[in-house]
């Protein structure tokens, strides 16, 4: 079997979870390849299956369908040439910094003296000399992740996998650590052949990767690929950089569709049911107010992320909500308020509730719920009844989140109420 020069190939990989006779597609027919010397980013919103894909690639999880080839050979079990740097560091809290690095070498049978020397050397390189005997809980988040990097590099992996390695860090240490990793990588100071990073942070992807694979959710799939040809070190304020970021936002924020497509079907009807973004109305109002202050009530979505200091993932859920409720339209990475959106942004608290109520009554999910409540005895239904119905449309955990959002929105709009002790939902 030839390896086509690829270090890693993912062919027709699908991950499907079944519960009863329903099935949920976490990953649908994913294909990708990683060349030697490449820094590849898997970028997508939460729930798009990118972390699952990383686990399949490293062999921690077996895909339902498809195959992973490593140097042309199908992967069986955990890939011995790959390691992961985890989002939550995954350090053993009861081992010192040095022991945490050493234990990875010990598992490979490296004798004690060599092991300690190598671990010390690596800790030195990531700038942790002097902290060898500290316990992870004594370190800051950034330093903990450095231990994570040192441990991963200690086993000299050919493929270094990074699972959102910077997203649990504060802004400053994340930025510093990104720079240091890029330095080690671009100057060839580590024997790693390729890096595969999973992230939901668009700027981070454009800042670091040679190539970005963009993924979408429902079902998790690859929707686009783009190469980043800017030389390192990249300038975040340069027009080329911003253009790329805007482009990716455009891809991920989508394009406002005609209303019936946008809203999807009601539960029980044919067609896909549109999941409600898990957003609180306060956040939405904040977003609309901010955009309303812009000229022509129009704004770049990627700039919003900066100005509002929100996580890109959360921001995209907010713009999606605005779009779904008809408060804004989205196109080419820009958000534009509709007249209704402007009115909402300027309205009083009570008027907002009224507008919001009329809008969510139009959503198939609420139409369905209200019609059920209207015919129910005493105009009330047990929470479980609705949950069961939603579980036919969504995976179990997601169904619960959907119900939580429904109750949250419905309470704000004062169209439904929920009694937690009796677990019943009823019409206001």
């Amino acid at each position: 079997m030839s390896s086509n020069g690829y270090l890693l190939e993912v062919r027709h990989v699908s991950q499907i979870y079944r519960s009863g006779n329903r099935q949920f597609v976490a990953l649908q027919d994913v294909n990708l390849a990683v060349k030697e010397g490449e820094f590849l980013c898997l970028l997508g919103p939460s729930g798009c299956g990118k972390s699952t894909l990383l686990r399949i690639i490293t062999g921690l999880q077996r895909p339902t369908e498809g195959v992973v080839l490593y140097r042309g050979q199908p992967l069986r079990g955990v890939n011995p040439h790959a390691t992961i740097v985890f989002q939550t560091f995954a350090l053993f809290p009861w081992l010192t910094v040095l022991e945490n690095v050493e234990v990875a070498l010990k598992a490979r049978g490296v004798p004690p003296k060599l092991r300690t020397a190598r671990a010390m050397d690596l800790l030195d390189r990531v700038g942790l000399d002097g902290f060898e005997l500290a316990y992870p809980r004594e370190l800051s988040g950034g330093m903990r992740q450095k231990v994570g990097f040192a441990r991963a590099m200690a086993v000299e992996p050919e493929l270094l996998c990074l699972d959102e390695p910077f997203s649990a860090l504060d802004v400053l240490s994340a930025e510093a650590l990104r720079g240091e990793l890029l330095e080690l990588w671009t100057e060839g100071k580590i024997p790693t052949r390729a890096i595969l990073m999973v992230t939901h942070n668009i700027e981070e992807a454009v800042f670091m990767a040679d190539r970005i694979v963009v993924m979408e959710k429902d079902p998790g799939r690859v929707v686009a690929e783009m190469t980043v040809e800017l030389p390192h070190p990249r300038q975040r304020r340069s027009p080329e950089f911003l253009k790329l970021v805007d482009e990716v936002y455009g891809l991920l924020a989508g394009q406002t569709q005609p209303e019936h497509v946008e809203m999807g079907a009601a539960p029980g009807e044919p067609g896909r049911v549109r999941a409600l973004p898990p957003i609180t109305i306060n956040d939405l109002a904040g977003l609309l107010e901010h955009v309303a202050e812009m000229p022509e009530h129009r704004h770049d979505i990627y700039r919003l992320a900066h100005e509002l200091r929100v996580d890109p993932d959360h921001l995209l859920q907010l713009t999606e909500t605005a779009e779904l409720l008809g408060f804004a339209t989205i196109g080419k990475g820009d958000i534009v308020l509709t007249p209704l959106g402007e009115t909402f942004a300027e309205a009083s608290i009570l008027a907002r509730k009224e507008i919001f109520a009329t809008r969510i009554r139009r959503l198939p999910m609420f139409r369905w719920l209200l019609s059920m409540l209207n015919v129910a005895e005493g105009r009330r239904l047990k929470r479980d009844v609705i949950l069961r119905a939603l579980e036919l449309e969504f995976p179990p955990g997601e169904a619960e989140k959907q119900l939580e959002t429904i109750i949250n929105w419905g309470r704000y709009a004062e169209i439904i109420a929920y009694d937690d002790t009796t677990e019943t939902i009823f019409l206001e």
Partner: protein, 595 residues
């Protein structure tokens, strides 16, 4: 719109502290019982109960050959013998404990990692932990003395009994730890290719350490109760006593030797306190490093003995000279072994498994039939006695619980809500409560025997000694956990004393009272075996009750009755636990837990 102000209802990136603190906090709380899962009666419970019935039947069958008379040891009341007796008692405890620990590690691992095994092992554990262990004592003693020399049989029976009292909660703790290890740590040990040994040493054991130590402490405390009962057990011509602190106390009470009684109690308290200070506290202080939280704890457990060892550099030297080289060798050996085995996939053995299940099923069915046949020989009037006995004991257990509740709630609240009182009462209460109630039975009898109502009332008092402490502890813990601001609020809005109890104190205490009551009623049922039938100073005293019936059947060698009454007691307690206590517990956890 700034992120900080947004209520948390949406999905967001998880900080490591959050992700790692998913481990339930209750693991630190010794006052909570591990209640494994919500479920009613299922098929597997029936199988487990039948299994237990068959086990008792086998024991009873063996007992047919038990000697008619068993001569007891001579117990000397000289205080000079006390160190020896203490050593014997501690030795039994230690043997049983290591047996429990080994069992725990194997059983818990199997249940956690093998789906098919889990289906059987968990219900089994669940039933076993609610069975009144002491009701097995006669069966175990008789059956062992049929196949072993008398003294060895009694020794082994005490160890088996203590084992059965220690193992279950430890096993649950280990099982729960194994199943709650954070995914990332598991993935990290997989991606760095830890072998089974390294995973056990670096991940599983450290992760479970604190919970295992707490549960070991609980097991030791419970173990004393059963050890004392096993050391003083005598019926008719059969004297199963063992040389130890329990027997010493009983002999002292028998002879009415107050000095010896005081010596005995003093030694017992000394041993328990010494073990606590020299073994468990240092272990806890040392194990603090195994906590998962990524932040420094507020008040980590301390131990003067541990500090002493550390400042003398004894631990350090031991670790350098002995522990490190040794563990390095062991690790290397395991790594070499797995390297040799790598690539060899273990063949699955489903046929073997099914064959085993089939054989066990057949054995079980055969045993069940034989047990049923034996039960059929029990005459109707004896069944009547059993029913009456169960009812009488149930009444006694309830009475002792009510009395305990009546005094522990006010006293516990008084101690718990007043930090100053709590500070000096807590250690005193702890020491008093650490004395196993069974050790004091003979002493209590001295005072109670002459009272009107005889053993009928006395048995309640004896049970009370076993039940009240659990309750008191829990009420104190509950009262001190009532948030200060709620206390202020209820004072500010001018609630009357009664209103305050009704709206704040009692609801806040509810989960704690339930937890305490579950343990307490278990203790009371157990105590009934020793409390309803006593032989004291040559007199035999007994009253109506299932415990008395079991003891009577043991004494007269009425084996069908022994089987029937033991089984009746087990069934009753398991049913009450399932249908009554567990429901209350769930209600308490869901509605009244302040967290």
């Amino acid at each position: 719109m700034r992120r900080r102000e947004i209520p948390i209802l949406r999905e967001r990136t998880v900080s490591p502290e959050e992700a790692l603190s998913k481990k339930p906090r209750l693991r630190r709380n010794i006052f909570r019982i591990e209640q494994p899962f919500e479920r009613g009666f299922s098929g597997s419970d029936i199988v487990v109960l039948i299994g237990i019935a068959v086990l008792i039947y086998v024991g009873v069958r063996l007992a047919l050959q038990a000697p008619e008379t068993v001569a007891g040891p001579t117990i000397s009341l000289s205080p000079r013998m006390l160190p020896y007796y203490a050593l014997r008692s501690v030795g039994r405890m230690a043997a049983a404990y290591f047996l429990s620990l080994t069992f725990t590690l194997l059983y818990g691992r199997l249940a956690a990692y093998n789906r098919r095994a889990e289906l059987v092992l968990l219900p089994l554990l669940d039933v076993l932990q609610s069975v009144p262990i002491l009701s097995f004592l006669p069966v175990v003693l008789l059956s062992l003395s049929a196949i072993l020399p008398e003294r060895a049989a009694a020794e082994l029976a005490s160890i088996v009994l203590i084992f059965t009292s220690q193992a279950w909660n430890m096993t649950f703790a280990w099982y729960q730890s194994l199943t709650t290890i954070p995914v990332e740590l598991r993935e990290a040990s997989a991606i760095f290719r830890f072998n089974g040994w390294l995973r056990f040493k670096v991940l599983e054991l450290p992760f479970a350490a604190i919970s295992l130590i707490w549960n070991s402490m609980m097991s030791w405390a419970g173990g004393w109760f059963f050890l004392m009962a096993a050391e003083i057990f005598t019926v008719g011509q059969r004297d199963f006593r063992l040389p130890g602190l329990g027997a010493y106390l009983q002999e002292a009470a028998n002879q009415g030797d107050t000095r010896a009684i005081l010596w005995g109690i003093g030694t017992l308290v000394l041993v328990i306190v010494a073990l606590d200070q020299l073994v468990w506290r240092p272990l806890l202080a040392w194990a603090d490093r195994f906590k998962l939280e990524m932040v420094e704890g507020e008040n980590p457990p301390t131990s003067w003995f541990y500090d002493l060892l550390r400042s003398a550099h004894i631990l350090e030297r031991l670790s350098h000279r002995v522990w490190r080289p040794l563990s390095e060798r062991v690790d290397a050996w395991f790594i070499r072994r797995t390297a040799a085995e790598a690539g060899l996939e273990k063949p699955g053995r489903p046929y073997f498994f099914y064959l085993l299940v089939l054989l066990m099923g057949l054995g079980l069915a055969y045993g069940a039939v034989r047990a049923a046949l034996m039960l059929a020989t029990v005459p109707a009037h004896q069944w009547g006695e059993i029913g009456l006995g169960v009812l009488a004991t149930l009444l006694r257990v309830s009475a002792s619980l009510l009395i305990a509740l009546a005094w522990t709630i006010p006293v516990g609240v008084a101690i718990g809500t007043n930090p100053r009182v709590a500070a000096y009462m807590q250690p005193i209460v702890q020491i008093v409560a650490s004395i196993p109630a069974t050790a004091l039975f003979p002493v209590f009898l001295l005072f109670i025997v002459g009272l009107p109502g005889g053993l009928n009332i006395a048995a309640i008092a004896l049970m009370l000694t076993g039940t009240q402490w659990y309750l008191l502890f829990n009420v104190i813990a509950g009262a001190s956990a009532i948030p200060q601001d709620l206390k202020y609020t209820s004072a500010l809005i001018g609630l009357s004393q009664w209103e305050r109890w009704r709206t704040l104190i009692l609801p806040a205490l509810f989960p704690y009272i339930i937890t305490g009551a579950i343990t307490a009623s278990g203790g009371a049922w157990n105590a009934s075996i020793v409390a309803e039938h006593v032989e004291f100073g040559g007199q035999k005293l007994h009253t109506i009750g299932i415990g008395a019936l079991i003891a009577h059947a043991t004494g007269t060698g009425d084996y069908p009755l022994l089987l029937a009454s033991t089984l009746a007691m087990v069934l009753t307690v398991v049913l009450i636990n399932r249908l009554f206590w567990r429901r209350l517990y769930r209600l308490a956890e869901e509605q009244y837990r302040m967290e």
